[in-house]
C-alpha cells in the first residue's frame, strides 16, 4: 500500500514541480503516438472504407490480413522494422534506426490494421442499400466517400481511441527501434521498463500514473465527443 501512495505522491510531485525530464518524456510520447495514430488514420480509414465497399479478387485475403494485423504483437513489428532500418538492412541508408521517426513508423504499422479493421466493420454495419441511396441522391465519388465517413464517424472515433490506446501502451516496438535513448527517444513505456529494471519502483509507478493520466484524458475527450453525438 505504501508503495502505491508513495508512487502517487511522487507522480503528483513530478508533474507539479515541472520535472523537465518527465515532461519531455511525456511530450515525446504524445508526439510519437499522436503522430502514429494520425498517420494510421490517414492510411487505415481509406483502406477500411475500400475493403468494406469494394469487391475484387483477393479481397478476402486482404481482409484476413487486416484482421490478423489487428493483433500484431508490437515486439514482432519492432523486430521487422529494425531489420529494415538496420545499417545493413534494405532501408539502412535512411539512417532512421534509433530515432523517434522509426518509432512513429513502427507504431503506425501497429495501429493501421486496427483502424482499418474497425473502420471496415463500421461501414459493413451500414445497410448496403444506403450506398446506393447516397449515389442516387447525386453524390460524386468524393461526396460519396465523405458522406460514408461522416456516417461511420463514431466507428472511426472508436478506431482512433483503440489505435491510440494500443500504440501509447506498447513498449516492444519503441524499445526495439527507438532504443530508449535518454532525452531523445525515451517514451513513457520504455522509461517505465527502465525504472523497474533500475529498481526505482516508485518512480516507475509515478511514470505509469502519468501514462494513465494521458491515456485517460485523451480517451475521455474522445468519449465525450462520441457520447454527445449519440444523444444529439
Amino acid at each position: 500500500m505504501d508503495f502505491l501512495v508513495q508512487g502517487f505522491i511522487q507522480a503528483l510531485r513530478l508533474l507539479l514541480a515541472g520535472d523537465k525530464e518527465v515532461y519531455s518524456i511525456a511530450f515525446l510520447t504524445l508526439k510519437v503516438s499522436g503522430l502514429a495514430t494520425l498517420v494510421s488514420l490517414l492510411l487505415g480509414v481509406p483502406m477500411g472504407l475500400y475493403l468494406a465497399v469494394s469487391r475484387f479478387r483477393g479481397r478476402e485475403f486482404l481482409v484476413g490480413g487486416v484482421n490478423a494485423g489487428m493483433g500484431l504483437p508490437p515486439t514482432v513489428v519492432g523486430l521487422w522494422v529494425a531489420l529494415f532500418f538496420w545499417r545493413r538492412g534494405p532501408l539502412g541508408f535512411l539512417g532512421l534506426m534509433y530515432t523517434p521517426t522509426a518509432m512513429v513508423i513502427a507504431q503506425t504499422i501497429i495501429a493501421t490494421p486496427l483502424v482499418a479493421g474497425l473502420t471496415m466493420s463500421a461501414v459493413q454495419q451500414l445497410s448496403p442499400k444506403l450506398r446506393l441511396q447516397i449515389l442516387a441522391l447525386g453524390a460524386s465519388p468524393l461526396q460519396f466517400w465523405w458522406l460514408i465517413i461522416k456516417e461511420v464517424r463514431l466507428g472511426i472515433l472508436a478506431a482512433v481511441m483503440a489505435g491510440f490506446g494500443r500504440v501509447i501502451a506498447e513498449v516492444g516496438a519503441s524499445m526495439a527501434v527507438g532504443g530508449n535513448v535518454r532525452w531523445y527517444s525515451r517514451v513513457l513505456t520504455t522509461s517505465i521498463v527502465l525504472e523497474v529494471n533500475k529498481g526505482n519502483f516508485s518512480l516507475a509507478l509515478a511514470l505509469s500514473f502519468v501514462l494513465l493520466l494521458i491515456t485517460y484524458s485523451i480517451t475521455y475527450l474522445l468519449t465525450v465527443l462520441q457520447q454527445r453525438r449519440r444523444q444529439a
Binding site: 445497410s127 442499400k129 444506403l130 446506393l132 441511396q133 447516397i134 449515389l135 442516387a136 441522391l137 447525386g138 453524390a139 460524386s140 461526396q143 458522406l147 461522416k150 456516417e151 444529439a232
Partner: protein, 242 residues
Amino acid sequence: MTSVLAVKNIVVKRGRRFRLQVDEFAVEPGEVVALIGPNGAGKSTLLTVLACLSLPDKGELFFLREKVSKGNALAVRRQLAVVFQEPLLLDSSVLENAALGLKLRGQKTGAKDRAYTWLQRFGVEHLATQNALTLSGGEAQRVSLARAFALEPKVLLLDEPFASIDVISRSTLIKEFKSVLSSTKTTAILVTHDFQEVLALASRVVILDQGRIRAQGTPRGIAAHEIWGGLAGAQIPPMPGS
C-alpha cells in the same frame, strides 16, 4: 413523344446466369409505370439500371435520347430520384436529410427552405430538428419521400416504398403520395408486390418474370387477363364510382 428513360437490348448477369434481359422498355413523360412480378423476377435490377446505379453488362440506356455511359451517369443520376423500401436516412437532422440531395447537386441556396416545404407537404416538418435515426418507420419514409420530391426529379424511381409501413399508415400515405404525384405531374416508376398500389397509382403495368418482360397494359387490363391476372394476385375491388 420523347421517352424520358429507355432501355434497348439490355442484359444483366449475375455470374454466368442471366438476371435480366429486356429488349425494349421506355417511360414516357407523365407516366406512372408499375413493375410487378414474383420475387427474383428482376424488378429491382431493372430499377437499378434505370436509376443509373449500375450499368448493364450489355445494351444501352437512354435518358432523353442521350445515351448513358460512365462519363455522364452522374449527371443523369442528378436528374432522377430514388426511394427504396428502407428509408435509408443518414445520421443527421431530418432537415439535413431532406436537403441532402439538393446540396449534393450543388443547389445550396434555398435548399433547406425547399426541403422544409416538402417536409410540410408530407406532414413531418415538426420533426425537422430531430436526428433522423430516431424516427419511426412511417415518419422516416415520409422524410425519404420529401427528400426525393425536393429534387424535382425528371423521373422518380420507387422500390417497394410502402412495403415496410404498417397497413393503417400505408393507405393514408399512398393517398398523399398520389395527390403529390398528380399535382407535380412527376413521371414515376414503381416496383411493387401489391396490386392495390398498382390500381391506386399506376397508369401502366409491366409484368416481369425470370428477368424478362412478359406483358404490359393498363392495371385493369392486366388484372382481367386470364393468365397475368393470377400472377398479379389481383382480386379486383369494385372500382369506386364505376
